[in-house]
Amino acid sequence: MTATETLVPFDEALTRYDPVMGLEIHIELNTATKMFCGCPTGFGAEPNTQTCPVCLALPGALPVVNAKAVESAIRMGLALNCEIAEWCRFARKNYFYPDMPKNFQTSQYDEPIAYDGYVDVDVDGETYRIEIERAHMEEDTGKSLHVGGSTGRIQGADFSLVDYNRAGIPLIEIVTRTIEVPGDKAPAVARAYVSHVRDLIGGLGVSDVRMDQGSLRADVNLSLKPKGSSALGTRSETKNVNSFRSVERAVRFEVSRHAGILDAGGKVIQETRHFHEDTGTTSSGREKSDADDYRYFPEPDLAPVSPSREWVEELRKTLPEPPAVRRARLQADWGFSDLDMRDTIGAGALDLITATVELGTTPQAAKKWWLGEMARRANETGVDIDALGITPQQVAEIQKLIDDGRINDKLAREVFDGVIAGEGTPEEVVVARKLEVVSDDGALGAAVDRAIEADPDAAQKIRDGKQAAAGALIGAVMKEMRGQADAGRVRELIIEKLS
């Protein structure tokens, strides 16, 4: 695609086309070791410190399946309402790319461990059923650092530096069937699905499900169908969209882009696309080609996986309560309205509020901070609410400071600023920024006296019994004390002094 492509505004595109989506989610499991070898899987280790003959594909090495990864895959399959295969195999996906030293990726082909599932996601009070085609086991690839001649490191050189720490980490790929929902809902449904799967899998404890660290990665496949037609269009595959918000934006952008091409009588190319966080656009990656002939065949080095029905049923018993049941229970426990609940889920704050309430904060206070303050900040900065740098622990601590009368709501916002800026714990920020409210009568009394002196009219009204006039004096004191006065105590002092 060239830079001259025409984009059709999203709403206008929907008057002529219906979007058809497919979503693929890759989830890195949090097992202690890799899928087929005993190398550790910790995130952020020094390059090539987590490799062995198996994951480096040295001659003679024999891979052996990690039992815990299979268990996690089955539990995920069950949570996604899938059938669990009675017998399935791994397959080699052959391709030449230096991110896999074997020249193939061990994956599953036509025998996934889990298949035919669904999840129900809520958007604007409507429930949409997303059908899951399959969830299969595979392994992650290494990380390449591309070094081009243009960087000037080596004149004219073009090469890659590869770190194989990630190669072989267990990965589950979840593939939906095609999703056809009303076009205006498509971006939100795509986002809600990814968010729902994140919560669901996070609840199983089998993955960190961190989009920002790549332990959950989403691919958005999209095509357009002219209204009234049943012929599917050519799809684009936007890879590694790494936040919920980006999933939504990627869908919107691709709808606009496809519509532009189709309106001009052009043909959409089947290709991978890269999503750009900064602009919300996608750019051409790689066209489908002969190289995508992966020549899958059953992996001869690994024995088939045949989970007994007893094992599957045992694992089913370990599943947490289904999301819909959990939501209903939490809503009742918290006394939230339907609208509160919808906002909570829409903001991706269900787990955050749950954790905050578990730490002793009231549901109302947790709601105030997460849906008021944090959702607003997330919107403004364009990041997901759980990537703001604020944890339930910190929210609970800040609310405790308010409950103890040491800060007020207004000062709490400054404490959040400080914590997000990395200035330390809420307690440390309060001390360092001197945010504690002043409630000692000496300091407050002096400020009250000055306020009375500066506004004799208001003072006279209060003496005449018009207590509402106290507001002006309280305001003056708060201003002088830069918001750090205990407003309740200030009011009491004013009334005492003027009656």
Binding site: T31, Y97, S160, L161, Y164, P307
Partner: protein, 102 residues
Amino acid sequence: MSEPAKGISRTDVAHLAGLARIDLSDAELDHLASELPAILENVAIVQRAAGDDVEAMSHPLPVNNVFREDVEVPCLTPEEALAMAPASEQQRFLVPKILGEE
């Protein structure tokens, strides 16, 4: 998982060579285009020997569920891992840019 082709054309050989990233000369292509069908024919004889009731074998032993516990074992040191690489830099394997990739 696909049925082996009865015949194999020169184009097929060129395609396979491309997938395997093997650079073949015209003479080599001609040679293999005549050689490979003979090999496939031998395989086909074995295939005919097995009836429809015999499942294709993917593993030499009739075993399932060979698992290991999720327990760490010592890794190679980066020096050991990289000692086998023709070139390395920044504690990473240095590989040439792959033809046809972006």
